[in-house]
Symmetry: C2
Subunit: 365 residues, 2 copies
């Protein structure tokens, strides 16, 4: 089978100078035999960059777009006039069956807005979310979502993220019933704003669903649950704070060690271990997040990543195509949604028989 | 001068078993000659704990309260019926001039709500915020607020936090014009929800104020600005995620090193450096956050800390009393507020002379 990937060649902080070498690197490393790329953006710029990447050049088609979506394009503007852009055309290639997945390192808001319109969401999902598998105390890692696709979220959005996150974890970790926690400022039920409170009440009504309750910021790295659900604002600042802290502690440790002869000697001896940890916590190797909840595969690369990071994002897309990702998530999601519905129906009929106003918060959904 | 500290003896996850040894430890370490404690809560419980802390016992007065505020008391309930509680009575001792500062490891929401009512806020401040000085790449550290006092914030709240944070940094770091960043999902002006957008526009109008603009999660540890401002929900989950990540990376590194003989040898040689870093990033040594924006000193200790951590919170309170903290912050705040006001007046008169609808976003303030 031929795999076709649609790439926004101009996206990200450094555009073609990262995207093109990144795609070349992915091509070198993949075990997929017949891989082809559709590269969208300013054709002369892309073609110039392709001169240094002969492998990629040999299996790519460049599609010129006059409109370019940049990091500064507002999502609303992208929706109005971005369909014929680098980003919009790459997404459309997937919607129209000419590619199996789309990858961009560009403007998250514009990418999400265009993807939602062009690729459509799965049944029962209003808004897609961005998950990441983070290296934590849990050997499998921990899935955190949303990482920035939805800056403001309703309780219903959070519940849908929880269901999608559970389905994503079941597929990614190959486990039956992943545990799910809702991020909050405390683990007690009374804590937090009305939005997380309401989502909490809705989530604990779902049968055959491992809802752990509220978790706190430190629970992410402690690997307390397989999935941590939060809104896109908190998720984004938390993820970036975690990345920054990991770098900070490693650098501090190296500096602290290098400040004495004894420490320097110890460091030289233990250097392989230092290198190993650096790799474990290197954000580039976790780069590439799917927009979870769409009917097709759209992968977002970090805008500031390098070629190694972008290659990893390409690889994430390839694996999702190979593993039939969308179908698996959709079927797990249908099962969870039917359980949620069944429970809601039971409660509604119970409360009709014995009406109490506080027994049916689900009806707000 | 006699320093009197009012202590909520029952607060925190472990109550008297942490608070009482913590206060004893603070007493042993302080250079203040005449320190006295007022201990509020269930008298028999406190008196039993005091048997193991003779120094503290000798300079304490126990005040029995029938009502006890716990971690599970809702702030609204605390406000209605908590005035005569461990927490309410300790706070009142400061308001009524019987103590210089109050310290509690209890329920943040209840503590904040009662403090705001009993101690009152400074001029021009609607809601107090919790700041923390975090160890970052900036050798002075970085002040982050709000860490959980205000789960939902208006743009005006964020602007007030920025002014208070700047005044706090100026006093704490002894610098003239600290830089201030507003936490967001991206550094571009178009990013984020309406709340941070509006606060951004208001902050950049203030003269003689070092507003850096938006910063991202990784900027906290990078020490990009002296102060990072955010709402209490994001601030709380981010702080706890940072603490968790710091612990995770250190443990991962130790495990990784211990897995080979070569690494173990290196670790033994470099152990003093490891110990030093552990201390630098040990959250207990940064425990004790003031409720910034009140007319008196109220210090919040982390609920899950140990005696060392609680002692540090007591020490924070002692230093603030010694350094005349409230007066310094109030005078710096008045200066900033007068500049903000002057600028708003100028803009209003300019826009009256030459009216353009988009020149007066400050009028929403």
């Amino acid at each position: 089978m031929t795999f076709v990937l649609a790439i926004d060649a101009m996206g990200g902080d450094l555009g073609v100078s990262v995207v093109i070498p990144g795609a070349e690197l992915a091509l070198k490393k993949t075990q997929v035999k017949d891989l082809r790329f559709l590269l969208y953006g300013d054709a002369p710029t892309i073609q110039k960059a392709l001169k240094d990447t002969p492998l990629l050049n040999a299996c790519s088609e460049v599609i010129h777009t006059d409109v370019i979506v940049t990091n500064y394009t507002k999502p609303a503007v992208a929706v109005r006039s971005g369909r014929k852009s680098n980003l919009g055309m790459a997404i459309s290639a997937v919607a129209e069956g000419r590619a199996h997945a789309v990858i961009s390192a560009g403007n998250t808001g514009a990418y999400m807005a265009l993807s939602k319109i062009i690729l459509k969401t799965l049944d029962g999902i209003n808004r897609p979310a961005i998950p990441a598998v983070m290296p934590t105390t849990n050997p499998r890692g921990t899935i955190v979502l949303d990482l920035g696709a939805n800056i403001e979220c309703s309780p219903t959005n959070l519940v849908q993220f929880a269901l999608m996150g559970e389905a994503f974890a079941a597929k990614t970790f190959n486990i039956e019933r992943p545990t799910v926690g809702l991020l909050n400022v405390g683990s007690e039920e009374v804590k937090g704003h009305a939005g997380v409170q309401e989502a909490f009440q809705m989530l604990r009504q779902i049968t055959d669903f491992n809802f752990h309750g509220f978790v706190e910021g430190n629970d992410i790295m402690a690997g307390t649950t397989d999935v941590v659900v939060t809104d896109g604002f908190s998720g984004n600042v938390t993820l970036k704070a975690i990345e920054g802290t990991s770098r900070f502690v490693q650098r501090l440790l190296q500096e602290s060690i290098s400040s004495s002869w004894r420490g320097k000697l110890g460091y030289l001896i233990a250097k392989p271990a230092f290198d190993r940890i650096k790799q474990t916590t290197d954000a580039r190797f976790y780069n590439g997040a799917v927009f979870l909840g769409l009917r097709h595969i759209a992968v977002k690369s970090h805008g500031g990543t390098d070629a190694i990071g972008f290659a990893n994002a390409v690889n994430v897309a390839i694996n999702m195509v190979k593993n039939n990702f969308i179908d698996s998530v959709q079927s797990r999601l249908r099962l969870l949604q039917s359980q949620q519905q069944a429970k809601t129906d039971t409660i509604n009929s119970e409360s009709a028989a014995n009406p109490e106003p506080d027994t049916a918060p689900e009806s707000k959904n």
